[in-house]
């Protein structure tokens, strides 16, 4: 049984909660966050449902490490490689932050595919969640483009020639391909503008678009709710009485996965 709080304790609690209440009264944000964190989800969700949050976490890691790397990186052909070397070798913990960004990029892409596979295999893309699947596909495309534009930035032989090949693969698209590749290069040849252009796309345009789409993605997740796994009894209507066992399972009555007789 809870002990009655002393008057002083109550006073202290009121004082501590005062700023939170102040914000809540004026914005409703605390209630909003509480609604987001403590909303109802189906009882039979499992660990696979955490892949989306894992992807979001990987993106946030990319966001934070990327912003910090931008403090030391210099996007000009003469300085880019040297500034990366400086980050890796000289700046305190630079090797760690660059490594997190470099390997985190792969994590982000892999997690996007795992998350996508979960949604596909659980049938969670079906009505009414089709729009969220489409937004997810856009996020996947933008994420891959992030990978492509970020790969050039170290400005070493691997990144340069990989980008040459990548741009020229775009150039082989029918009709518009030659124009797409000129647009990516910022001209008919790879030059000083190409690096700065890729940097701007990598750290401003694409993250902005991705953040906006993630906001939409989460809004739809909250609005439509989390879907149950395909084997969910709750979603299938657990209120129905279990059929009586009269014969071998799977022949005259449905087995655990449906069976032939319906």
């Amino acid at each position: 049984m809870p002990r009655k709080k002393s008057a002083r304790m109550q006073q202290l609690e009121t004082a501590m909660m005062y700023p939170v209440d102040w914000i809540e009264e004026r914005s409703g944000l605390i209630g909003g966050v509480r609604y987001f964190l403590f909303r109802k989800v189906p009882g039979d969700t499992n660990w696979f449902h955490t892949l989306g949050s894992a992807t979001l976490t990987a993106f946030l890691v990319q966001l934070i490490t990327g912003v910090i790397l931008a403090m030391y990186y210099k996007p000009s052909p003469d300085e880019a490689y040297e500034s990366i070397r400086h980050i890796t070798d000289d700046v305190t913990l630079g090797w760690l932050v660059r490594g997190m960004h470099r390997w985190g990029a792969s994590c982000f892409i892999i997690l996007m595919f795992f998350h996508m596979a979960r949604v596909f295999l659980f049938g969670a893309y079906k009505y009414p969640r089709e729009l969220n699947w489409i937004i997810g596909v856009l996020l996947l495309a933008l994420g891959m483009f992030e990978g492509f534009t970020g790969y050039l930035l170290p400005w070493d032989q691997t990144s340069y020639w990989a980008t040459v090949v990548g741009i020229n693969i775009n150039g082989t698209a029918p009709f518009l391909g030659p124009f797409i590749s000129s647009l990516l290069r910022g001209g008919s040849e790879i030059g000083p503008d190409t690096l700065a252009r890729f940097y701007s796309i990598h750290m401003l345009i694409l993250p902005g678009a991705i953040i906006g789409l993630i906001g939409l993605h989460l809004y739809l997740v909250i609005r439509l709710g989390v879907s149950s796994p395909p084997w969910s009894r709750d979603a299938a209507g657990a209120d129905r009485p279990e059929p009586e066992v009269t014969a071998r399972p799977g022949l005259t009555r449905p087995g655990p996965r449906g069976g032939i007789a319906r």
Partner: protein, 301 residues
């Protein structure tokens, strides 16, 4: 929709040709007019007068307390609100002005990001030094910078062979090292004699290195294994055409490198080679055969 098509046509026309701009401007004007007419339809037409009995109450009623009886303003008739011109005008004005302001800000910004990629792409001819540096039948690697102001990032490589005189004019074969598959640098199949490198100080202020190759028989690409013979014809691997070549000119006994062009196939050898020449296309793009119809237009090079 048509308005957007017109804007697109203008932007594309700025890159491609002036007649396209004119067509785009015409489409934009026509659809812009139709759009404005459509949007303003609501308040250009005279709204129907409200029914007479609603406008004039039958007789003045005795005063009643404010919290009783009907509201001070009568409920609007169903049709009245929908055709109310001022709210419609304000709604249209807000959206329209917003669109205009957005367009004024966006169009130059997008133009700034996009158009420079398609304008002024030509580079000056590059001085490769006196033609006495080039012995007949000798392949040389030439490293040069397309635009010395851009520095090392514009460094390119060509393979050059002097073919002797053809009709009293010096003939050169100048092959680009850009693979016709996806643009990696093709490597010469021969002995690269770095120790016999010649330096040619040129009029452009560039320090151009000429490295002889002994017994060149082929070019091979390190990325995906595209192979070419010594005229640049594809012999194996994924490339879709022969290696690109550079045009050249000779001024005051010096070799000048001009613009590059694409090659479908080369028949014959050396000075007597017959080259099927096309406008410069990007790597991986077909210039001949039925697939050439996939690449009908090229941006300026």
């Amino acid at each position: 929709m048509g308005f957007a098509v017109g804007i697109v046509c203008i932007l594309v026309g700025l890159i491609v040709s002036w007649p396209a701009v004119a067509v785009g401007a015409a489409i934009t004007l026509i659809f812009g007019f139709l759009w404005v007419r459509d949007v303003t339809h609501g308040y250009r037409t005279v709204p129907e007068p409200p029914p007479a009995d609603a406008a004039a109450p039958a007789e003045p009623a005795p005063a009643i307390p404010a919290h009783k009886g009907p509201a001070a303003m009568p409920e609007p008739e169903p049709g009245e609100v929908a055709s109310y011109p001022r709210s419609k005008f304000l709604e249209g004005a807000t959206l329209g002005l917003g669109a205009v302001i957005g367009g004024i800000v966006t169009v130059p910004a997008v133009g700034f990001a996009v158009v420079p990629a398609f304008l002024d792409q030509g580079d000056d001819d590059i001085d490769l030094g006196p033609i006495s540096n080039f012995a007949e039948g000798q392949w040389l690697i030439a490293h040069f910078e397309l635009d010395p102001a851009d520095g090392g990032v514009s460094r390119r490589t060509a393979y050059i062979r002097y073919n002797g005189l053809l009709e009293n004019q010096p003939s050169f074969t100048i092959v680009s090292n850009r693979c016709a598959h996806l643009g990696c640098p093709v490597q010469p199949g021969g002995l690269v004699q770095t120790d016999k490198t010649k330096d040619a100080k040129t009029s452009g202020g560039q320090d151009i290195q000429l490295i002889p190759i002994l017994g060149l028989s082929s070019f091979t690409c390190p990325c995906h294994g595209g192979s070419y013979d010594d005229e640049g014809n594809r012999t194996a691997g994924p490339p879709v055409r022969a290696l690109d070549r550079y045009s050249y000119s000779i001024r005051n006994g010096r070799l000048f490198l001009g613009g590059a062009f694409s090659v479908g196939r080369v028949e014959g050898k050396g000075a007597n080679a017959r080259i099927s020449k096309y406008n410069l296309a990007g790597p991986g793009q077909h210039v001949d055969g039925p697939e050439q119809w996939f690449y009908p237009m090229q941006p300026p090079h």
